[in-house]
Amino acid sequence: MQLAPTAFLRDWAFGPLAFGMLVGLVMFFAAAGLIMGVRAWAGTEPVAFGPVVLGAYWFGLAGWLLGIGVWSKWAKEWLGLPVDRTMKTGWQRYFDFTTDHKVIGVQYLVTFLSMFLLAGVLAMLMRIEHMSGDQVLFSPAQYNYVMSLHGITMVFVAVAAVIGGFGNYAVPILIGAKDMAYPRLNALSFWLAAAVPVLLAATFFAGGFDAGWTAYAPLSTENSDGQVLFNLAFITLGLSSIAGSINFIVTVIKLRAHGMGFDRLPIFVWAVFAMSLLGFFFTQYIAAAMLMTLLDRVFGMAFFDFTEGGDPLLYQHIFWFYSHPAVYIMGVPGLALALEVISHFSRKPLFAYRWVVGGILGITALSAIVWAHHMFTAGLSTAELFFFITTTEVISIPTGLIFLGALGTIWRGRLWLRTPMLFALAVVFNFLIGGLTGIFLADVFTDIHLQDTFFVVAHFHYTIVGAGIFGLFAGIYYWFPKITGRTYSEHLAQLHFWWTFLSFNLTFLPMFWLGLNGMNRRIAVYPEELEFLNLLVSLGGFSLGASFLVFLYNILKSWIRGPVAEADPWRARTLEWQTSSPPPVENFTEAPRVVSGPYDYGSPSTAHAVFGASTNPDGAG
């Protein structure tokens, strides 16, 4: 059978997408029909959502990937057949199985920023519901769906936007490579991730899901069919993360330019590298947790079924064994991006570079042994409680090193308060609040009171949004001229910053008081005396949502017709600024050779890297 697309489907801009969807749908329905046929033959009710969708999904996913380019550009090679090596140009690259890491980075950024804005709309709906203690918009069940969908979408955004977007775009350039170690696997990772929003949207037609982003069993083994799609989405993003993490690890180890020692890696590269060490290993545990839930739901297993001797706590252990390291995967890249920006915009070397790297690696190591602090009220033994208090408190030491690195760099720097720097400084501010309030959640004595209240909601928004997402926006404004070759409006960008920053704090600071006063999370109605604080939060939330309209307008308008940007508008030293804006395919016209650290400001006579074969004694290139 010849699966290769016709010339029309290959050459038309949306051909690969259309062909991928077509093959995916055909394979999905063929497999679904087959499964239903087998079920009818075996004498069971043929139409059953769980088994049919669970089985057919993998065929649909395989068809989608094969159709969009895995077959014509990759798999044919395994059979010794000629592969399609054509590469589209211009905007059409973004809708194809393109292997250029810069294209993939932008694909991730646009996809996950769109998901970010949509999940933000869901947050607005939740805040409308909370404007009064009584029911406003939703039934409790509908509220739970909106809350769960907001949660899991934002978690996916936090996991994939910075690493998938800027990790892909910037890491190969920052280390002086032409591309990632496995460019085709990289394209595969993105198109796998692209299936995730489709699955999340499809939950709407399958009764939704209402178990929160944590999907605790036995809620998640007994609720509506949408939960099956949630689990498949999590596993799919997990596969994408594992492939991406392995790609980053090998890229950083193997593809660094001459002279780019580990002691000269930009701090953002260190963060992506360290978080990939977490991602490639621990992501398997979320796959395991999701798989066990599916086995319980669909195949009559009883991992988490107490009535059969199973144990719901098993779910929580495996879930958090991934999901605690994952909160660092969400937060640390944004934090490191802020450090990157702070050094360039303070015109100073990153303070205590080696200690900051040690801090990142310390977090990486310790994050594996703190997971049960999410389970303090789940019924652990006293010995377990004290073990996990201790490890959790200890992790504040490496985190503190990173924080001190930021403060030390700012100290007596020549701060250049352009938009990227404003966002980076806001990361420092927000992360301080997020970090300090974390102490109360790390201790059993206070956590018992605060568990599952808005205090927790405020805390993780301050860390993951306040550091991770603010870091993402620092990165967007920092690298926008590089990515698009155009300049945005600094006025509108600063308006966006102040509007976002003030609204963010207006939204999430009162949540700490709400939590202290006993406002539970994940609930549609609440006592009347909490209405005033909730109103504040809602108004802050609407304002926060509106601020992104400024961002969208500025970015879209500037991308289309902004003034052309120079190669190095920030006069920064790192490698991405030493090539054109946007960089050519394979990033540099001549091989870079790194001769000093990335942040050695104050010694203006030295460059971070020199270019060209004449300065490259090894002669390789």
Binding site: V250, A287, A288, A620, G621
Partner: protein
Amino acid sequence: MSTSTYTAHDSHAINSMGLWLFIVSETALFSAFIFARYYLTGTDQPSELNIGLGYAITAVLLSSSLLAYGAERRIAKGDRRGFLWLTLGTIVLGALFLVGVGLEWREAAHAFAPPDLFGVVFFSLTGLHATHMVTGLIALCFVWLVGWRGGFGATDHWGVTGVVRYWHFVDAVWLTVFPTLYLV
């Protein structure tokens, strides 16, 4: 020679590192299910468990790894005939192992079907392993097909090395899963 870097590099070393990382990653998935086995059922074993059959299929799988090793050595020496025969032998033994698992399952489905807790961990662990066996067998069939059509040579057989290494890994996983379910 170099396609994705400005420094000289060895594409074999790059591919090899990626595969090792993938293998380490896969151990995490199996470890979660092995953890569940002890967490839920301790070291309990139902008396109906057919340990003899378990030993038999373990021997079959170990032999298949030996043949796979031989196949890789053969192609490295340029002996295509030997390579094809040994790969075919690996595939046959791998399939035989799966037949053995099928027999185990038929007995297990009568003796301790889920939601019996041992059945839960037994079927999910052996099922997860069997899924990896099936992907390994498909990959081996690809390797055989490519070799039969004249692909791979003494200096160019990363495809064989990679798939054989994965096969050894799946074998090693069984050497952990088997005692976890049958011997502890």
